[in-house]
Symmetry: C2
Subunit: 893 residues, 2 copies
């Protein structure tokens, strides 16, 4: 096995895989000459070998011993020394940050001998015995698996015996006694004394950190954050620096810019006479970082200088932990800092302006998800609010409504026009109708993969889940907060799906300035630095972007909006709605028609109505391509529900009510009823089974295009045939459309530039794309349906029934309806694209499933060199940004 | 363009693609020195060029002219000659025989001059003028598109004028007058006189034959017989030989063996003083071929000698047409003769015994479809019968029942226990319930791809369709035959789906001796020559067969039967039935259970019952592998239908009936209701969503195996997980099963040889087979479901709604549920097999969809080197035969 232990001096920040994030950054700072307490890192390789085999890899502790000796030599102190002992910390550090999920053991090296040395050296017996007490407690719990309460109880007893309540009121002698007690606790619980050998302590701590990779909370965290389970953690062994050695000592955290807004200028907290965990835990009130200048100007100046160097070196905003031990500044950690979406955009652009990074790098610093967050409505940050609880941000957005505790009531109130928030302990498939009716969903149980979260994201409903401080009592119709506030059915609450916050009453919602900018109702000048930053990066993305971005829009209004958002065409205009409303009656006639002539009469009535729809649409998208999908859903979707109508007729029959019309309709509904309508008579099958239907639609499209052309406009219709599985189907329909086009051209004497293509939304279409391309001008991957058939998932059925269980069990990392499934569906996209283009090199290939607006999927489509993605109008900016980023990412490789 | 015309001397029987079947065989006979009237063949290339461009390919008629001159020189006669004219026939001849579908023109070369020459040469003016009359009539109709009735009317007038009724009563002068009349008819209809130039006649006839490739009846025939539409036909131009020149002349057809039984010995019909069409048309009673020996021994001996030579040369039974012209024998056609299934087996084996062919060749002379035909029940050939009509053999078998004319009545009578034959003009999706209820289906309209035919084959129902002589009156509830016989509702009829025959009354049905042989209830000795032949060829197939053949069987009885039929294991034991019957109540408890403990109680009750089922099964298949599929269907299939129950509850509510139980059940049914159950909560998803379910089934299987082993038997359970789409699903379940196996092994202390595998029935499973193989011991392709998801077809819905239309339109050649779709589903099978084996070279791969028993599909699975096919018990012999044939076919390549 390769080298398992690396001194900080020999690593670098590029070695996160091997050294973990913390270890790599400590090494980097060391290399830069920044004051870091010396130490070394045990690699993730060592951890993985341990986790796989269950035993520490051979030679590991020999290597650790060698590095420890070098550390001792360098520090001039040895572990366990009775005069001037070295103490070390043992900290986890995985590739991806998992804050608080794994173990840390401090003060390794203290024992009955060295505690006296520390006491003498620091001239602070209380500090020495308190440090030893802390080691026993931490080591006992973490390494020796002793119940933590035993230590807490002993501590409480000690304080009670002395009649004090705070730890700080215990003096050195009290702590010395407590150390004896803690040692007894350990011996009682484990049957063995606390190891006095510091090297044994170190070995125990290392193994405990390894083990903590697979602690239940760590497993759960990784599942939620989609962190691979087999990475393992590195272990950092580092000389201790103490911030709790008096008022000339202290600890702090700092950011090189404001992580909330992106504003320039240092930003952070400092706590005198304290260790790092005291700052983070929030027990004591921290000072602003700026106050350090007053307290210890030398350290402050040095810190500010280091922060500038780190930012210049990392070329990004950094997040820092530091300790000052008796006037000596030590850096304990740095990393590229987490930030809000707003800060991400502003910092990226500022760094470009400062000459630190290029525009391309700036693009890699922001994401489409962040842009989407900036576009969701937010609660007015200035508005009054009372926080009731905080849960998990399960599905973004801001929703206000009356709290209701059961789905039937949710549906009833929603139908009466009252917006509602459905509040449940957790949801299950029976709540689906309530979730559909609600403006938002709030649960007190379950995480980001719970039923509520999965279904809400699927429906685009705002959702906060797992707000565990709430006691939800559905029977009583109320919930109680941690402070006893009771919210009853009908009380208004507000939930923020982006932050997970739950507020009492109505919080004002404000539209995102970013949306107003995209809409054209707010100028870049008026929009402030955020809008300016978005504008800059959208331009940069558009400059690099290779793929077109189109929108899925069914009418002129949506199309116009999409165009304002930057859509370069319509990638999917569904035509179902053109058969609804007042036209539904005509569709019933069509279904009940008994002859071709009857059907033709219906078509003759429908054609001018639909033609008018298309004229509006082509005018809204003047000059841009518009892909119109011919009728896709099964005809029974235009008729009443089979079960409902059956009940109606049966009840009317049983009670002697008239029901002739319904009975007649029921015959048709029964005839058209299908066991699996998704796999039934729909799409191109309808076009072939009902002669004249697709011809009518095609004529309406082409005549509308001719009319728009005659008026001086530019219509570019692309007629798209759905659900094709074999080239023969497309050939059949193509003949009809080409004939209609020939006739329309003759009738109108205009040049008509029409294209005929097909959805690729069945596995067979992708598998035979080479043949199908022979009859198609373009392909559009319908990745929703393709996901359904490739997986054999009916989205309506499975998302609400077992997706949450699949995510809990780790079978699905994310829903394949949200992020494209590369191995399955993605492979079909690759086959379809490559083989289609082999037949027809200039075949235009796009995607019009919801994946067209999903960042991860957009990157995949760029890899596959699709010509365009099409998504909902609101996602168009996200798709533009990600399509540009995907190109830049590709260049970087 | 290459040579477009070939003399018979230069071709051979291998050139069917180029010369058509007839042309290639005429050339072959010519090469063999057998007397064939000389001539030449215009290639299919020429026809295709004409059909594509709409004009005769350049140079064609020049080439024809050169060959014609050579023919004239050779015959010493010229076309149109006034003294001794040459006459030629112009006949179509495609690669595949399309009897009667295309055109023929005889007697080309006769005109006003040459008719006198023919008259003088033959010394038979009547013959000459009758020949000219026939040419005018045939040429007028075929080439010049004159309405045939005009000629028939003129002929009738001539006979009426003379007061006779038969053509033969017209003498030479009458015919001369009729010729004048026919010429007038042509000139009136076309505005131009009948072409006197024989070369113009020839050119017209050739083009007419080309055109006839695309006549509606030819197109329809090709669609029915699945002959490609773009082959085109060759055209044979041949010197005429006349069998109608007196009693020393005649025509006949002959087979070198009996095509009905395969019996050795010549067999055929002969008609004196007649042309070939008179023999075929059946207007005059023919003589047995043996009678020719008496009439013209020289010709007879020569014929028998030629037949022997042909059979020896073709090494197969031949079908022959010949003409004797004034004592001179001419062979007009030969080809490998069509034969019944019985004859196919017997001839193949006899030829082996005679040393003509090898056993391997014999295997290539029979098919699984023929074997299947021999296994269907047949009407007793000796039984009394009255033929009412003959339609198309749409779906094989023999069915007897009461004629009914609407589906509701069919269902009602069937429920009362009366077998029925559903008689319709044609069927549509509304008839589905009637088709399900009927023992057989009879229609008067539509071909082998009509709705009735497609659906009946899908259901395995006997069906005769397109019995066009029947007048079906559904309103009156009766049908009338061509001779006026009326069959009324309730009258018993018998239909033979193998021959297309419809009989009055009940015809005795007898079980096939071949089935009795397979069943072991008839020995080879008692079975006669057919059973002996089947036995020989089954042994030959088994000797060559590489793939195992298993059966799909759900219980011990079916398994035992399958084993008798030669199954080498069970490839699919569905476990659904183990939750039905008296156990349905337990399943309801399972569905309504509210806790794991409730569910466990149900499992505890189910386990011993199912274990007993498995013990029986393993005992029946002792020593052979048994693949058991864990529960697949969605749970709501065990509950009442959603719509029916909704109606019941609503009606009870409206009429004040008690309905508490139903209402409670309705809640569960509604909760489990799915829009697309095929794509819902089923298969492995059930196993994951309902903890304990698959574990219970696995324990039942493994405990049964342990019990059988303890009793000294040999159980080889293979546990199969259905509907896996991702390796994670299988890994999850595999852990449960392996744990159960470990426990059972410990409890029983026996060696248990269990395997765990998965169905590959979703596109994603095939596409990620490389991953899935990591967790599977075997794959079994579920090609039914794989076809459904690959095509996006719900079989229940689409076969009855639009498959017939798809076949009529040529979009589907055959149902992908009958023959595997190589391009789509087949590609997934290839990907799944190859990539699965790449991961795990010893992965066992089989198929358990219905395609496992389909000959064409079995050949595909052999090409893909699957380890086994599994099919219904009855299809096992077919699969054995075809699996062997597939190997031999592969060797032959």
């Amino acid at each position: 096995m390769a080298q398992l232990v690396h001194d900080f001096e020999t690593g670098s920040m590029d070695q996160k895989d091997l050294l973990g994030g913390k270890g790599a950054n400590l090494a980097e700072m060391t290399r830069l000459g920044i004051p870091v307490p010396p130490g070394f890192t045990i690699t993730t390789d060592a951890c993985r070998a341990y986790l796989e085999s269950g035993t520490v890899p051979p030679g590991l502790f020999e290597e650790v011993g060698e590095h420890l000796e070098r550390l001792e030599a360098r520090m001039g102190r040895t572990l366990g020394d009775g005069a001037d002992p070295l103490l070390v910390s043992v900290r986890s550090g995985a590739k991806f940050s998992m804050p608080g999920m794994m173990e840390t053991v401090l003060n390794i090296g203290l024992n009955d001998t060295s505690v006296e040395g520390l006491s003498a050296q620091t001239d602070n017996p209380r500090f020495a015995w308190d440090s030893y007490r802390r080691l026993l407690q931490m080591y006992g719990k973490t390494v020796l698996d002793v119940d933590g309460e035993a230590f807490e109880d002993a501590l409480d007893e000690a304080k009670a015996a002395k009649g004090v309540t705070a730890d700080v009121d215990l003096d050195a002698d009290d702590l010395r006694a407590l150390v004896a007690r803690f040692k007894a606790v350990i011996e009682e619980a484990t049957g063995a004394p606390f190891p006095q050998d510091p090297r044994e302590q170190l070995r125990g701590a290392v193994v405990a950190v390894f083990d903590s990779w697979n602690s239940p909370r760590a497993i759960l965290y990784r599942r939620r954050e989609q962190i691979p389970t087999d990475l393992g953690t590195a272990v950092n062994v580092q000389a201790m620096a103490f911030g709790n050695r008096g008022s000339d000592s202290g600890s702090g955290v700092a950011f090189t810019r404001d992580p909330a807004t992106g504003e320039t200028g240092v930003y952070g907290d400092y706590l005198q006479d304290a260790q790092g965990e005291d700052v983070v835990s929030g027990i004591r009130n921290t000072l602003h970082l700026a106050d350090l200048e007053r307290i210890d100007k030398a350290s402050y100046d040095q810190l500010v200088d280091i922060m500038a160097r780190l930012e210049a070196h990392y070329r990004d905003m950094c997040d820092i932990e530091f300790t000052i031990e008796r006037g000596h500044l030590w850096m304990l950690q740095t990393r590229v800092g987490k930030r809000t979406a707003e800060a991400a955009f502003r910092i990226a652009v500022d760094l470009v302006d400062e000459g630190a990074i290029t525009e391309e790098e700036a693009l890699m610093r922001v994401t489409g998800d962040q842009l989407a967050q900036l576009m969701f409505p937010h609660f007015d940050p200035e508005g009054a609010r009372t926080l009731l609880a905080k849960g998990m941000s399960a599905s973004p957005g801001a929703a206000v409504g009356a709290a209701v505790f059961d789905s039937d009531t949710a549906v009833r109130l929603a139908e009466e026009g009252t917006p509602v928030i459905l509040v449940r302990r957790e949801t299950n498939p029976d709540d689906l109708h309530g979730m559909v009716a609600a403006a938002g969903i709030l649960t007190s149980r379950g995480g980001k993969t719970s039923h509520a979260a999965v279904v809400a994201r699927g429906m685009g409903r705002t959702c906060v889940c797992g707000a565990e401080t709430l006691e939800v009592d559905t029977k009583a119709g109320q919930f109680t907060t941690h402070d006893g506030t009771v919210v009853r059915q009908g009380d208004t609450i507000s939930i923020d799906g982006t932050t997970g916050e739950v507020f009492a009453g109505e919080v004002a919602v404000y539209a995102s300035p970013v949306v107003r900018y995209f809409e054209g109702t707010m100028s870049v000048e008026d929009g402030g630095p955020l809008v300016a930053a978005v504008d800059r990066l959208m331009s940069a993305a558009d400059k690099h972007r290779r793929m077109q971005v189109r929108a899925n829009a069914d009418n002129a209004e949506d199309a116009a909006r999409a165009r304002r958002f930057g859509a370069e065409g319509i990638g999917l205009c569904r035509t179902e709605h053109m058969f609804l409303g007042e036209r539904r009656e005509l569709v019933e006639h069509l279904i009940l028609a008994e002859s071709d002539a009857d059907r033709q009469r219906v078509f003759d009535e429908l054609l001018p109505l639909q033609r008018a729809d298309f004229v509006e649409l082509f005018e809204a998208m003047d000059g841009l391509p518009v892909t119109v999908r011919l009728l896709d859903p099964p005809l029974h979707e235009f008729l009443p529900d089979f079960t409902e109508l059956s009940v109606k007729v049966a009840v009317a029959e049983a009670t002697g009510q008239p029901h002739d019309t319904e009975s007649l309709l029921l015959l048709a509904v029964r005839r058209l009823h299908e066991e699996n309508p998704m796999l039934g008579l729909r799409g191109v099958r309808l076009g072939i089974a009902i002669p004249g239907l697709f011809e009518m639609q095609s004529r309406a499209i082409l005549e509308a295009a001719a009319i728009v052309t005659e008026r001086g406009g530019h219509a570019h219709p692309e007629i798209m045939v759905p659900l094709v599985g074999s080239v023969e189907e497309l050939r059949n329909i193509r003949i009809e459309i080409d004939e209609a086009a020939h006739e329309v051209r003759t009738e109108h004497s205009v040049h008509l530039d029409h294209h005929i293509g097909t959805m690729i939304e069945l596995p067979r279409a992708a598998l035979t794309a080479g043949e199908i391309a022979g009859a198609a001008d373009f392909f559009s991957f319908g990745t929703n349906d393709l996901t359904q058939t490739t997986w054999g998932f009916s989205r309506d059925d499975v998302e609400s029934s077992f997706f949450s269980r699949y995510m809990e069990a780790g079978i699905l990392g994310s829903s394949p309806f949200e992020n494209i499934d590369r191995a399955g569906v993605g492979r079909l996209v690759r086959i379809g694209t490559d083989e289609g283009r082999k037949t027809k090199p200039d075949l235009k290939v796009g995607v019009c499933g919801e994946h067209g607006g999903d960042p991860e999927s957009v990157h995949f489509f760029e890899e596959r060199k699709l010509d365009y993605v099409s998504c909902s109008p609101f996602r168009v900016p996200v798709a533009r940004l990600e399509a540009g980023r995907a190109v830049v990412k590709g260049l970087a490789r």
